[in-house]
């Protein structure tokens, strides 16, 4: 039986989306147990007091009193800290939360510790492409000041995640740069390129530009945390903006509304292919635990996506495979 602690608090729209996702997930996965941490009364009301056997409730609706004060927050009895405690005590195998990113990262690093030989943790979402395939993007903002060595270390971890999350035997690994010529770009990116080239155990493909990144040209896209955050939000923003523009132009004339009815299926296909709801979930990699972070405005589908990613990670024992890749003996 795999156990996941799910910190329900921290979602801007309350805990309902998390509960809907939990109900569906538990129904489809009898080999999983969920520890739902949130307001017990609300949880009981949602399940009409008929709590499924593999759901445990932990009554706690505390969030950090001042998320900017990380030192203080780590000592508060918040639902997020409780989730980490369960993982540290090995009462669960993985955790999921929508709480503050900075706090989550700090708690993961301080409570679980970084893996041996890993200098920094990173945030790694799974991104959609127009071909239907997905890719892993990292770091998207855990680190402001990134060194070449970090990127090199992340490549080894991301490789293992890509094998199972993307079902790729030998995942293609690329480094995002502002040009594909070797003399272009930040010094740390040029250094990382040399480090990655030296490692014959990864399928390194060199530089890629973000212009082509949605065309499934790689399985893992590495970048510094500052650049990765800009890329993530630019891609997401452009696609959502484009959708809104198209919608407004279609609504502008009646005849177009009829055309829309005929094209509804095409729009649905597009929306499913480039669904950014899964992107709301990012892995916290480099720490000694299976830890995933969901966006603060996640809906039930986004949470279900996150839970299904955790399922793949646990059923394939990804954490131990990462440790093996990093030559960690325990």
């Amino acid at each position: 039986m795999y156990k996941i602690a799910f910190d329900l608090n921290g979602n801007d729209n309350g805990i309902k989306a998390g509960l809907i996702a939990s109900k569906i997930f538990i129904k489809n996965n009898s080999n999983f147990e969920l520890f739902l941490i949130g307001n017990e009364k609300e949880i009981r009301t949602f399940f009409k007091n008929n709590i499924p056997a593999n759901i445990k409730i932990i009554d706690n609706d505390l969030v950090a009193s001042d998320k900017k004060n990380i030192r203080q927050s780590l000592h508060e009895k918040t639902s997020m800290n409780l989730a980490f405690d369960l993982l540290v005590e090995k009462k669960v195998d993985a955790i999921l939360s929508s709480g503050d990113s900075g706090l989550y990262l700090s708690a993961a690093t301080l409570k679980l510790k970084r893996l041996e030989g890993v200098s920094r943790a990173a945030f790694m979402p799974i991104m959609p492409t127009i071909k239907g395939e997905k890719f892993l993007l990292l770091d998207v903002g855990a680190n402001i000041d990134t060194k070449a060595q970090y990127i090199y270390e992340w490549s080894l971890i991301a490789k293992e995640f890509a094998k199972y999350l993307l079902k790729k035997v030998n995942p293609r690994i690329s480094l995002i740069n502002i040009g594909t010529e070797s003399y272009k770009g930040l010094e740390i990116i040029k250094e990382a390129n040399l480090l990655l080239k030296e490692n014959k155990n990864i399928n390194y493909r060199g530089f890629i530009e973000t212009r082509d990144i949605l065309r499934a040209t790689t399985d893992v896209a590495l970048i510094d945390g500052y650049g990765g955050n800009l890329v993530l939000k630019s891609l997401e923003g452009a696609i959502l903006s484009f959708k809104d523009l198209l919608k407004s132009k279609i609504k502008a004339k009646f005849i177009r509304k009829i055309g829309y009815l005929l094209l509804k299926g095409a729009f649905k296909d597009v929306a499913e292919t480039l669904d950014y709801r899964n992107v709301g979930a990012a892995w916290v990699i480099g720490v000694n635990g299976v830890v995933i972070k969901s966006h603060g405005s996640s809906d039930d589908k986004a949470y279900l996506g996150a839970l299904n990613q955790v399922k793949i990670a646990l059923e394939n024992d990804i954490l131990n495979k990462v440790k093996k890749e990093l030559n960690i003996n325990e």
Copy 2:
């Protein structure tokens, strides 16, 4: 009579697109003279030997022999260098080229010199939004290592360009960051934020995230050169990828093709609103001259857009207004 030197070489698809744009521009603007630098025979063939009165031909189809060797390239008799010479000698008022970005920037800095009080030149494209309005984005890659002071200086220059190119009396100026909280982001961005806040002569609005940047929330978006290049290519890539995806989903079924016919106008409106062809042109700001760079794969519409931007800059004497804003006395 305003004079523009147009370096026709450097386009991946030859000089024809530049010639088509020149012909249209000259026809509509009798107060402009174009110095077309390229293969004279090709130019004459295009105009069927009937060269318009306000077009001068300069026979030169030389491009840099090794664009990575900047020192050497600056001394070659290339069409790009010739264009700069004409500007330095005040035989023309502005220049346009599709040549190599790095060379163009170096030539602009070394031959024209930077404006007094400006530490670095920057590339500044005019970007579309889904609302139809446009904004200026800078720097998109002239600088790999950006300092807070550069960004502050660019804000003063961009402000003057925005007044005329975007017709805004008091342009909104924003700083792109990976969050809107003051404690987030690169140190140089946080420092730039403080410098910009201190200047009461600009309409500074603080941080923006790239997620909202296509929604016309600002007139000028400032960022370091590395981040700006990633943002530019991510936005462009996402929109082009989305269009391709939509096209493929529409083609997938016959009934959808009929829907497409009814929606053709909507798609055309969308394409016109988010037309990235103008983005191919970026101003080189911070140097003592009116200098614009077109993308190496520009089509005639992209070139016409660039020429029309130059027209606005010259007719409104933007360069002198920039100098005044920077308190430069000549």
